[in-house]
């Protein structure tokens, strides 16, 4: 299956009640697939008039306790930032997929990782976070859907899946996990009609003195829990590595080939692959940087995750960046060449 | 006297709309402000017939209206538990 369809079917298996989307390349396979499969399941599919409307439809469905989702690509996700901030303020669960493309502006439809800051820092207003998961294979993309819905429901947050044009379009064998999941706690906060209970209100406006501040502290406490429990990261040959590449998503796949080639040339290279971009695997990278190594951060951007890597390493080890913005995709040899240069410099 | 109104003067904002619609000019603004500083409406129910025009136009729903009714109407009121009765027969 192609990534776009794999994530769609996985979402349906995860119990998606409603999908709202708007056409934008490179994720159109999702809307097409959902428009066929969701009605088949007796579930809701709506093509909205804009991504801005789509995220607000998610807001509505989610407020009634339903599992709802929207997908788009970079420019569309920018239109959703207001909605995502409201989702955070109202503590509503939601899943959003960003199949990233080249930016800024209309950019192009090639893959990119230029939305890292928007995703991890939050492109909307106010202090809020979204859980950001960056799969690097079609299988992992499918697997992360049900996890995303569970995390969204458990923490009442928005979970953002960060894929890219390649991941969305490429075809790979996928095993869809159809095992039923353990039931999650009931959503007694949901809007279902105040029958024999006081009214529920879903809101993000807190005008009374200090009320919003209290809400913010509550959110921050929740985010600390997420940081403690949900940070995910994969390490490949890092233990004896002199040069450690830090890359996520599709770039991590390319980097693994470069690491293997370097190893064949006797260069001890390794890879750290953050899976959750927020919460960022700061501890793992910090620990890995206690021994003197060179960290090579590779991204399809002008350098965004590199900042988080530097923060994690806090100057203990050198951090070098290699990036390809605007839809550029680094090649294996390109990264290998960079590793070679760093090895020479390191041994001098 | 077929009707009577009760005004929650603490809640009234003295907008005066009830005064403009009372067919019997039975409402005036009080001289004494309530705790919010508004001069609330005040009923002098000398010949109020319970038409509830005042309650209908009151934006703050501070007026309760009661009226002497005949038997037919009692059944009507039971059906609708609130608000203005569309069928008013004296």
């Amino acid at each position: 299956m192609c990534g776009n369809e794999a994530l769609s079917e996985a979402a349906i298996i995860a119990g998606l009640d409603a999908y709202f989307g708007y056409p934008i390349t490179p994720q159109n396979e999702i809307t097409a697939y959902m428009s066929r499969r969701m009605p088949e399941q007796g579930k809701v599919f709506v093509q909205s008039e804009s991504e801005l409307a789509a995220i607000n439809m998610v807001f509505g469905a989610s407020a009634t306790g339903k599992r709802s989702m929207t997908t788009s690509s970079s420019p569309g996700i920018s239109l959703m930032q207001e909605g995502i901030s409201y989702l955070a303020g109202a503590e509503l669960p939601a899943v959003v997929v960003n199949v990233m493309r080249g930016g800024p502006g209309l950019g192009n439809i090639s893959p990119s990782q230029g939305d890292y800051f928007q995703a991890t820092r939050g492109g909307g207003h106010g202090d809020y976070k979204t859980i950001v998961i960056a799969p690097s294979s079609v299988q992992e993309l499918a697997d992360s859907m049900s996890r995303a819905f569970d995390l969204a429901d458990i923490y009442r947050m928005t979970v953002l899946i960060l894929a890219d044009g390649i991941l969305g379009q490429m075809m790979e064998p996928v095993v869809l996990d159809k095992k039923p999941k353990p039931p999650l706690p009931a959503k007694d906060w949901a809007l279902t009609g105040a029958k024999q209970r006081p009214q529920n209100i879903v809101r993000s406006l807190w005008l009374k003195d200090g009320a919003l501040e209290k809400l913010n502290y509550k959110l921050q406490e929740k985010y600390r829990q997420v940081q403690k429990n949900e940070t995910r990261c994969e390490q490949y040959m890092v233990d004896d590595a002199d040069i450690v590449i830090v890359a996520y998503g599709i770039v991590a796949r390319i980097a693994i080939s470069a690491v293997n080639k370097a190893r064949q040339e006797g260069i001890k290279a390794g890879l750290i692959r953050p899976i959750t971009l927020w919460p960022f695997p700061t501890e793992q990278i910090d620990k890995a940087s206690e021994e003197l190594r060179i960290f090579l951060v590779v991204e399809m951007s002008c350098g965004q995750m590199v900042d988080d890597v530097k923060l994690a390493i806090a100057g203990k080890s050198p951090v070098v960046f290699h990036g390809r913005p605007g839809g550029g995709v680094p090649s294996v040899d390109e990264i290998l060449e960079k590793i070679r240069q760093l090895t020479v410099r390191n041994s001098v | 006297m077929a009707g009577k109104i009760k005004i929650n003067t603490e809640r009234c904002k003295g907008c005066g709309l009830c005064i403009t619609v009372c067919p019997k000019n039975g409402i005036v603004l009080s001289k004494h402000p309530n705790k919010h500083g508004y001069f609330p409406a005040q009923a002098n129910n000398h010949d109020c017939n319970g038409c509830a025009a005042c309650a209908t136009i009151c934006p703050d729903v501070v007026i309760e209206v009661s009226r002497e009714v005949n038997i037919v109407e009692v059944k009507e009121i039971k059906k609708q538990n609130c608000g203005i009765k569309t069928k008013i027969n004296y």
Partner: protein, 246 residues
């Protein structure tokens, strides 16, 4: 002596923040009475706009949600589609519905969403201090039309209900008012009719526009505001049923 008029249960017994003579209080009451008289309290979910009525959930005792400015019809779509058995209404002001939320309301009607929209048209942005709204009348002074609204550069009063009535997906559009008890009773009938359509699963959107006074930012007394609706507003926003295919 029998009580013939009292507060309906779905209207909380609390002081509202609305200005003296504001039409929101009336619209809230009619909405609550309609909900109670139709017996749909237990399955009604309401959407509060961003505007003076953002605090509607403090006054309407049904499940409520407060959403981003202008997005209520999209939120309502998400709710109704996933909960067809619930009664969904959005309560919006003229800025919310006819300015920032124009796309949302037009497309909700265009998609024939089975929701009910209560649209309060008081010709200004109230909460933010009386700015020009799309429905501000020509010549009307607001904080952003100090010389009175001029058509060149500030456009004409937007007759959004007429715009919506031509859409096949809008099955009931009526413009009412609250400037006297008779009008108020008619508005209540319209709101109940709109809800009844949704209760019967009628395929389409129902919208009731309510011309409503804003004494504070019209700089008039409540009584004078009611007259102004009757004499001035109805010239630009004629009352009546614009559509009722049900």
């Amino acid at each position: 002596m029998k009580t013939v008029f009292k507060r309906t249960p779905s209207l909380k017994d609390t002081q509202t923040h609305y200005c003296p003579g504001c039409g929101h209080g009336l619209a809230h009451r009619l909405l609550a009475e309609a909900i109670d008289e139709l017996g749909i309290h237990d399955r009604t979910i309401g959407i509060a706009p961003v505007g003076c009525a953002v605090l509607a959930y403090d006054y309407l005792d049904v499940d409520m949600i407060e959403v981003a400015h202008g997005r209520a019809p999209a939120v309502a779509t998400g709710m109704k589609r996933t909960n067809p058995d619930k009664i969904i209404f959005s309560y919006q002001g003229d800025g919310d519905l006819a300015a920032i939320g124009t796309a949302e309301i037009i497309h909700a009607a265009h998609r024939a969403e089975q929701i009910t929209v209560i649209f309060i048209n008081n010709a200004v942005f109230g909460m933010t201090g009386g700015q020009m709204a799309p429905t501000t009348l020509l010549g009307q002074v607001t904080t952003t039309t100090p010389q009175g609204r001029q058509s060149n550069g500030q456009g004409f009063p937007l007759q959004i209900s007429e715009l919506l009535a031509i859409l096949p997906g809008a099955i009931y559009v009526e413009r009412c008012s609250v400037y006297n008890p008779a009008q108020i009773s008619n508005t209540k009938k319209a709101i109940k009719h709109a809800f009844e359509l949704q209760m019967n699963g009628a395929k389409g959107l129902s919208l009731v526009e309510v011309l409503s006074p804003c004494p504070t930012y019209w700089h008039m007394s409540p009584a004078r505001s009611m007259e102004w609706i009757e004499k001035e507003m109805t010239k630009v926003f004629p009352l009546g049923k614009l559509k009722d295919i049900a």
